[in-house]
Symmetry: D2
Subunit: 132 residues, 4 copies
């Protein structure tokens, strides 16, 4: 139910406090959402080739702990809301079981004309919907 | 009352949709907050040299419009909440008067021991407090 | 003859030594080359819309001095070699007249099929050629 | 003799051509050099805590092929020159055995006063020297 990604903090991701820069966490979250889609059978390259896009419309992220060089991070991704043309993931970044950051990320689909669109039937996957 | 920063979108800030990447907006907001502090007389380099840090504890950002190469962006920054050791900015990114993104950013101060701390008296500036 | 760009170092461009990260200089150089093209009348958006691309095939960069937060950098860009389908820029990054980094950057043109191509006639500009 | 690192291209590393941005390759190379040091027993955190720094003084990189989302890259790192206070790595980035980019990276050591320094005896490792 909860998708797990793992990554290790790289040197160029750290800022002048030697901590992972705030914006970099958004990269990590994007990385984990892409892995979520891939591991759940969502054909992203085909989706894009048909002119569709998944965009992020809102991110609310709470920073709890700093991460530093070589920290091994676990990113949990799970759907918590779903509408026809959009949805929300809860994503949690952890190190050694402690919460580094927690985010709610709301996505939406645009069609080739750049307008909001339901997820096309062939790309609909159960993993986008919250468990009951 | 509202601080204004301006910047122009650079090529390397755009992703494979040719849009400014979501994480890059957090860089823009950080840039604008640093300019806010500087223009309001906050001595950031001294602050850091004394071991203090301003950290971001929460960002809630709504993405409204895409920005692309060479867009001239205006970033409005204003304080909307204030507590002794923390506060919240409302930041709005605009192009041609249209809202590109809007964010609430909550900051806190850490002392040299890494613990929450009030803003030290010599660094207290009126601009950190919301207008009445 | 020598094109000048200016920029100021931003907080999120600094690494854990508080210096501008090595890779960020390549962004600065790209920024300056884009400004060079724009200021010399090269219609980059049209060029891309026709399927052409300017790619970088080689960069040789010497790092001389560190740049830090708020440094005001000047970037000089000038063509030093030219062939039909490629060319080389010399780019120098300076602060207060001192050399921060110096790079030779060799570019080439690809057509819509991804193959090396001469600069199309309508995009040929004198500024791409070294002065005699 | 040749150190191997592996990584997979992430979405936020791609530019508006959907290719890995040129500057990002320098991040990849830094990642591989850090892995090289770590895997060869160089205690980087201690080194930094004593005030030393390894800086890059020159990079000459040739770009051969584009890398795109999800490409699995192999980075080979090997020393090719060595002097007391500096040295040069040859680094090659490959996908499926094909050369994506090749770089010569020259490093130097600075002491706590920011001056060029030999590698301190306790941090000297054979891996920094080219094989005969």
């Amino acid at each position: 139910m909860i998708h797990i990604s793992k990554l290790v903090v790289r040197s160029y991701e750290c800022d002048s406090y030697s901590h992972v820069n705030n914006a970099v966490y958004l990269n990590y979250l994007e990385y984990a959402r892409m892995a979520f889609l891939k591991d759940n059978g969502f054909d992203y390259k085909k989706f894009v080739s048909l002119g569709y896009a998944i965009i992020v419309v809102r991110i609310a992220i709470d920073y709890k702990l700093s991460a530093v060089l070589y920290d091994e991070l676990t990113i949990e991704t799970q759907p918590v809301k779903r509408r026809k043309a959009s949805g929300t993931f809860l994503q949690r970044i952890l190190k050694d079981g402690n919460l580094v950051a927690e985010a709610e990320v709301t996505w939406a689909v645009l069609n080739a004309q750049g307008r909001p669109s339901p997820v096309p039937q062939e790309f609909e996957i159960p993993a986008l919907n919250p468990a009951n």
